[in-house]
Structures are given as C-alpha cells and as structure tokens.
C-alpha cells in the first residue's frame, strides 16, 4: 500500500459497503440493537453471579464485559472479507488489477469501523449500567488492539484463501473459531479449565485468541504497562503470533487465488 491511490481504493470499497449497509434501514436498527442486547444479556448474567476474578484483580462483570467488547470489536474483522467472496463481484474486482492487501483491507474495513462505532455505546452500557470497573492503560490498549487486529486480519486472509478453493466451507478457521469459543476464555479465566481437565489451559494458550483476550484485559483491567516485564511478555508472545501469521496468511491467500485460477473455479460459488 505505497501510494495514496491505494488508500483511495480502500476508501472506495468501504464507501460501497457503507452505501449498501445504510440502504437497508432495518439492518441498521437490528445491528445496533443486537449489539446492545448482547452486551446487556451478558451483563445481567455477570451481575447475577458476580464473583472476584483474582487473575486480573477485578470482578466478573468487568472481566466479562471486556471479553464481550473484544469479541465485538476485533473478531468481526474476519467476516468482512468472506462476505465479499461471491464470484460475481470477485472476478470483476480482480480484473481491475487490485492489489491483494488493498482488496483484503478494503473489503474488511467497514465491518471493523462498524465494530468500533458500536463499541462506544457498548462501553457506556458496560460501565454505567453494569458497573464495569475499567483501569485502562491507553498505550497498552492501543498496542493490544493493533496486534489483535493484525492476528484477526491474518486469520481472515487464511480463511479467504481456503474458501476461494473450497467455496463454502473452511474447516480450519471454523475449527479455530470453535476452539476459541470453547477454550480462549471469553467468559472465564482460562486457568479455570484445569479444574475440568488438568493441563487443559495449556491447550488454550496455543490459540491466538486466548492471547488477544489476555493482553486486552491486562490493558483495560489492570492498567498494565508494557514497560513492566511481566506485562510485556504476553504482548511479545501475541506480537510473535502476529508476525508468524502475516507471511503464512499472505501465502495461503495467494495460493488459494492461484489454485482457483489454475482450476478455473474463481467464478464458482
């Protein structure tokens, strides 16, 4: 993405998605309502069984609300590109000679912007209605969001690359998402997993999503500073995941595209 013209292309893709999204008025209402209701439902649940979460020196409401916010803020990135994978659009867009990063970024950015916009009322609801107690280190939070976004973006590219070949199903990303739902600690500290099966939390720490939840919680619940070596370590591990995934995701996306071009299935769906 060397030149401003590439950013204009990204913006064109975002603008198209905004037009599409905003032209369905009922969709706007249902999206906003679903996000707020989701946080409210979890909030009520957490409030009901509020217990201390010593791993982050906080209470369960705050712990859970941050988990939900992360889920709503970062994880939707992965769905943005996949939604664009219909052949009617894909073939013509590729015929414009669009570069891969521009395509992937442009097609996923609106989903991300929407998540950020929805994040604000969700945060308000969490703090003022459910009494979530956030102690934020903004530098660490910004860094954690950047690292997390890179990881999710890479997972989206991997998923896209595979879906271009398989068309509908991507069991790799699906399996990873399911494992994350079960093991990454959205609703509980992962150390609790060992109560069910000794050593199970070790499996959880193999998932990038677990690290995403962890570093965001360190930044928002304990005001963890990355200058602190104990906080810096999980940040470094998560950044390592991101660095590991970048070349792999680019490779898989390009492989998928080339395979579909070789097999003549780019226009299939």
């Amino acid at each position: 993405m060397q030149s401003p013209i590439e950013w204009k292309k990204v913006w064109a893709l975002v603008k198209r998605d905004i037009y599409n999204w905003s032209s369905y008025r009922s969709q706007i209402i249902t999206t906003v309502a679903a996000a707020l209701i989701g946080v409210a439902a979890w909030g009520v649940n957490a409030d009901y069984r509020n217990i201390a979460v010593p791993q982050y020196n906080t209470d369960y409401v705050s712990f859970l609300i941050v988990g939900i916010l992360v889920t709503n803020l970062i994880l939707p990135l992965g769905t943005g590109v996949q939604k664009q994978l219909n052949p009617w659009t894909l073939e013509t867009i590729l015929m414009t000679g669009l570069k891969t990063p521009t395509f992937v970024l442009g097609t996923s950015l609106w989903t991300y912007i929407l998540s950020v916009v929805l994040f604000i009322p969700q945060l308000y609801l969490g703090i003022y209605v459910f009494g979530a107690h956030l102690v934020i280190n903004y530098v660490s939070l910004l860094i954690s969001i950047i690292i997390s976004s890179v990881i999710i973006f890479c997972l989206a590219m991997i998923s896209t690359g595979i879906r271009i070949v398989t068309k509908v199903t991507d069991p790799i990303t699906w399996g990873l998402a399911m494992a994350a739902t079960l093991l990454s600690g959205l609703t509980y500290p992962v150390q609790e997993l060992n109560n069910y099966y000794p050593g199970l939390s070790t499996v959880s720490w193999l998932l990038p999503q677990t690290w995403i939840f962890h570093i965001v919680r360190l930044s928002t619940l304990e005001a963890g500073s990355i200058i602190n070596p104990q906080i810096a370590l999980p940040f470094l591990v998560t950044a390592g995941y991101a660095l590991f995934l970048v070349p792999i995701s680019v490779f898989i996306y390009k492989w998928g595209l080339r395979r579909a071009k070789r097999d003549g299935t780019l226009g299939w769906y």
Partner: protein, 349 residues
C-alpha cells in the same frame, strides 16, 4: 512489423473433469480432497490454440457451447491460468504481467456483472473508476462521456437493480471503457437481448467502438448471423481446437465441397436444343447439370452443381465451341451456418 493487439500462441488448458467444491458444511469430508486438487481425469478445454488479431480488427471466436470460448476469454482476462502456451496483449504476457495486461484489455462477461444492486449506474462506474486508479476529476468527466456514449443518460442515476438486460450490457461496456482499454473481449454479448436490442448493440459495438474509436474487439459467440455480420475474421473453435480461421467468406469457401453455379448464356443466332449440351455433364467434377431457356428471350441458363475442383476452363471452352456467349455467372457458396455445422460435425465424428 505491426505488433498484434492480441496474440495467442499454443495455449493449452486442461481441467480436472471431476473437479468439485464443498457445497455445504456437511460435506466436510471432501475438504482434503478439494484442497489437494489432484490433476487427474483431465479434460482438455483448449488444445494448442493459435491466432493473432491486428489492432482495430473485429475477431469472432465461433463455437458451440462447451467449445472453450469462455475459458479462452478468462485466460486472456487473467482470471484463469493456462497450462502451457502464451497469450500476449500488445506484446505483454498476460500471465507474467496481469496488471499491465489489464490496462490494455478489458472483458465484458455477461455473467459476471460485479455491480452493486443498491448503487446507481453512475455510482457503480465511479466505484470501478477508483479501483482502476483513475483520478476523480478525469473519472467524472469520462463517466459522463461514457453514459452519453452508451445512451444511458436517462438511467444513470437509477439504482442498478432497476436496470434491464440491455441497460446492464451497456453499463458493462461503459465499465470496460473506463480505462480506455484498446482491446475489448465480449462473451456472448447479445445473449438474452431481444432481436431489436441485439441489433442495436451489434451496431454500437461494430460502428461506434470498432470503426469510430478504433478498438480491437474479440467477440465470442455461437450466433453465426452475428459473426458473419460483424466480424472481420473468425476462428471456429470446437472441443478446444481451432478448426478453421479466416474471413467469414474464406471459411465458407474452404469447407465448400460442392459449388452451385448458374451461367447465363446467349445464343449466337442458331437456336439450340437443351439436350445438345450433354458433353458438359461429362466434364470431370460436374455432378448435376440443367439447362433451361428463359421464355421470350435468347437467353439460356445453365445450372451446374460441381465439386470444388471442377475444370471451369473446360466447361467454358465447351460452351464457347457451341457458339454461346457467357453473359453472366452467379456462384453460390454454403452459408456460414452450413460451414459451421460441417466443421463442428466433422470434429465430432
């Protein structure tokens, strides 16, 4: 020597005949097999295709369904990779330099609109103009010109979902012209259009795009009348092989095994009986012959059906020796449709 606008050299493409995709999550067991994508049970879609198109030429690729036309168009549009061979657009290899290729070549694929239904025609064009990297002020001017040029002014600010098939085609052409590409590929451009709209569209492509603007048009079709009416030269593609190339009349005459001819003759004073011409029927190659008199005149018409290599000189000599003067000759060849059916049937058998 002039560089061809489009040159295809020994292009070959094979597909896995049993290629499959996963249709639902329930078919997850297919996953490994699909990802492995073994090249087995291969079916040849294109077999060593060769041709060259000069700048400004209208080239027709004629072939029945499944002949490989769309595969070739997609290779040229950089959407499918060939197994071997080379395709060059003004000397640029489409596989090695896809982005440069797409600056000179655009395809109008009737099945791949790529338009957003909730955006207007103009907004769709603006969207693609940005993706092509055209600066806004140039794009806006060009879009206005194209909307005017493609006679879409009345619908430019309507949502795309209200467009008819004919309007969609024109919007597709407008998009293809955004970059001012000099080579335009059309895949069955008039399919789905009513006869009137198809005729208008053909005339627009031929007269306005090719003749006025000097664009090189590559026209894939199975519509023979269309090919004959529009194309300067044609390649007939069948089962992935080019079975004939040339102008429409060259193709017609190349396949003609027999020639039908009517020769108008004038008697030189002496009236002749029709049965006095039996010698002509014995000339090698003459298959059928009929002589008839035109009532009320001294003119006779000799109708001949002969093989392509019939000895015309001998026939003319015989007529002349009978004291007849040739006043007119009319030869008829098979239609392009007959040629096409013959070429594709020969391949089939």
């Amino acid at each position: 020597m002039e560089v061809p606008a489009l040159q295809v050299i020994d292009i070959t493409k094979r597909y896995n005949a049993s290629a499959r995709s996963i249709r639902s999550s329930a078919e997850v067991w297919k996953f490994v097999s699909v990802l492995r994508g073994r090249r087995e049970n291969m079916m040849t879609a294109l077999d060593k295709i060769n041709f060259a198109i000069a700048p400004g030429e209208i080239f027709g690729l004629l072939g029945p369904n499944g002949a490989g036309k769309t595969t070739l168009i997609k290779i040229l549009s950089t959407l499918v990779l060939p197994d071997s061979g080379q395709a060059l657009v003004y000397g640029t290899d489409v596989v090695k330099h896809p982005r440069t290729t797409l600056k000179n070549l655009q395809a109008v694929l009737a099945e791949s609109w790529g338009f957003e239904r909730r955006l207007t025609g103009r907004q769709n064009l603006q969207f693609y103009a940005t993706l092509y990297g055209i600066p806004r002020e140039i794009a806006d001017r060009r879009i206005d010109e194209l909307i005017d040029f493609c006679q879409l002014k009345f619908a430019a600010d309507e949502m795309f979902q209200k467009y008819s098939t004919g309007m969609t085609r024109k919007l597709l052409v407008s998009r293809a012209l955004l970059t001012d590409a000099s080579v335009l590929l059309f895949d069955e451009p008039t399919s789905g259009l009513d006869p009137g709209a198809a005729a208008d569209f053909r005339s627009f492509l031929k007269n306005t795009l090719a003749r006025e603007k000097g664009k090189t048009l590559f026209w894939a079709t199975h519509n023979l009348t269309e090919a004959q009416e529009v194309c300067d030269s044609i390649a007939v593609l069948n089962k992935g092989r080019v079975v004939a190339t040339g102008t429409p009349s060259e193709i017609r005459s190349a396949i003609a095994e027999r020639v039908s001819m009517a020769i108008a003759l004038q008697e030189n004073g002496t009236a002749r009986q029709v049965d006095e011409f039996g010698e002509i029927s014995r000339v090698e190659g003459v298959m059928q012959m009929e002589m008839r008199k035109v009532p009320g005149s001294q003119t006779m018409i000799l109708e001949l059906e002969a093989t392509r290599d019939v000895d015309y000189n001998k026939i003319f000599e015989l007529l002349s020796s009978q004291g007849l003067r040739i006043v007119g000759i009319e030869a008829s060849q098979p239609s392009l449709e007959e040629a096409f059916i013959k070429l594709t049937r020969e391949e089939r058998s």
